[in-house]
């Protein structure tokens, strides 16, 4: 027996506020949503999980607003991104990129250091650029879907992705040859 689809679970939630059905949706999307928020918050796990919980609660309360013309995940990401922006405006936190000590660099494999440098470079981007790149590459969202999440025109999404990549390329220049040759 196959798992129920998102549409079936949403229909059950809409019908009688079925929390078990919504729990199925939460379980299905908690990992990708929390991962996205951890990247947006530059590795602040506690904040990311708080925002993820807030996102799911808002999604339950406003499930009637989901029109079904986009993927449920896209709708969730939009709520999550707005929650992230709201938190940023409220706290006006600037999360400084993590620094890596020299001895840590020497004792860890290149893959780990590359990932750390990538995270450091991502955290230096504007949040819209960071979000656009994460949604485009890790979530395999189309430009239209990203535009819906970020609430901006498709052209702006393309600009965010291009500028974001230029900045990453500039910051990760030292890895270029090493990554290509494995």
């Amino acid at each position: 027996m196959s798992d129920p689809t998102d549409a079936e679970l949403i229909a059950q939630v809409l019908q009688d506020g079925n929390k078990d059905a919504f729990g199925g949706l939460v379980f299905r999307y908690q990992s990708p949503l929390r991962w996205l928020l951890r990247k947006l918050t530059c590795g602040d796990v506690a904040l990311a999980d708080d925002l993820a919980q807030d996102t799911f609660v808002r999604a339950f309360l406003h499930i009637k607003d989901f029109r079904g013309d986009a993927r449920f995940s896209t709708w969730l990401y939009r709520i999550a991104y707005n929650a992230f922006l709201g938190e940023k405006r409220k706290n006006r936190k600037h999360v400084a990129p993590r620094t890596v000590e020299n001895d840590f660099r020497e004792s860890n494999p290149p893959n780990t250091l590359l990932q750390m440098d990538l995270e450091k470079a991502l955290s230096s981007l504007h949040e819209a650029e960071r979000a656009a790149l994460l949604l485009a590459y890790s979530k395999d969202c189309s430009h239209q879907e990203i535009a819906r999440v970020l609430d901006c025109p498709v052209g702006t999404v393309k600009t965010h992705i291009l500028r974001g990549k230029e900045k990453l390329r500039s910051q990760l220049r030292g890895w270029e040859g090493k990554v290509e040759h494995g």
Binding site: F22, G23, V57, Y137
Partner: protein, 110 residues
């Protein structure tokens, strides 16, 4: 990502699969955080209407006569003395409290 024609080393780096995050009770915490649903709007409307009707019945039929309420209102506004004002004010307060009580009950989250 299917939007770019050519993938270079940075595209491959960005497209690396994300690790799975264990649920570890996260879903349960989310479900506990969801507030209880408010009573449906239709029920609240019925409660409000019924209580308003009860207030009207008390005002116009149970009290000595329908004119009593209007007499009370006029006595409050005429205000001849503090002694005579107690009963009409009290009767008006009863009606107001019933209506406010109905409103409060209607919006009370069960």
């Amino acid at each position: 990502m299917g939007n770019l024609p050519h993938r270079d080393w940075l595209d491959e780096l960005l497209a690396q699969p994300e690790p799975e995050i264990e649920d570890s009770g996260f879903s349960s915490r989310v479900l506990k955080a969801i507030p209880k649903r408010r009573s449906p709007f239709r029920m609240r409307l019925w409660i409000l209407l019924i209580c308003t009707l009860v207030a009207c019945v008390i005002s116009f039929w149970i009290l000595p006569s329908g004119e009593y309420l209007w007499t009370s209102v006029s006595e409050v506004f005429v205000f001849e003395s503090w002694i005579g004002i107690g009963v009409p004010v009290t009767s008006l307060l009863v009606v107001v409290m019933i209506v406010f009580g109905a409103c409060a009950f209607a919006v009370y989250e069960s």
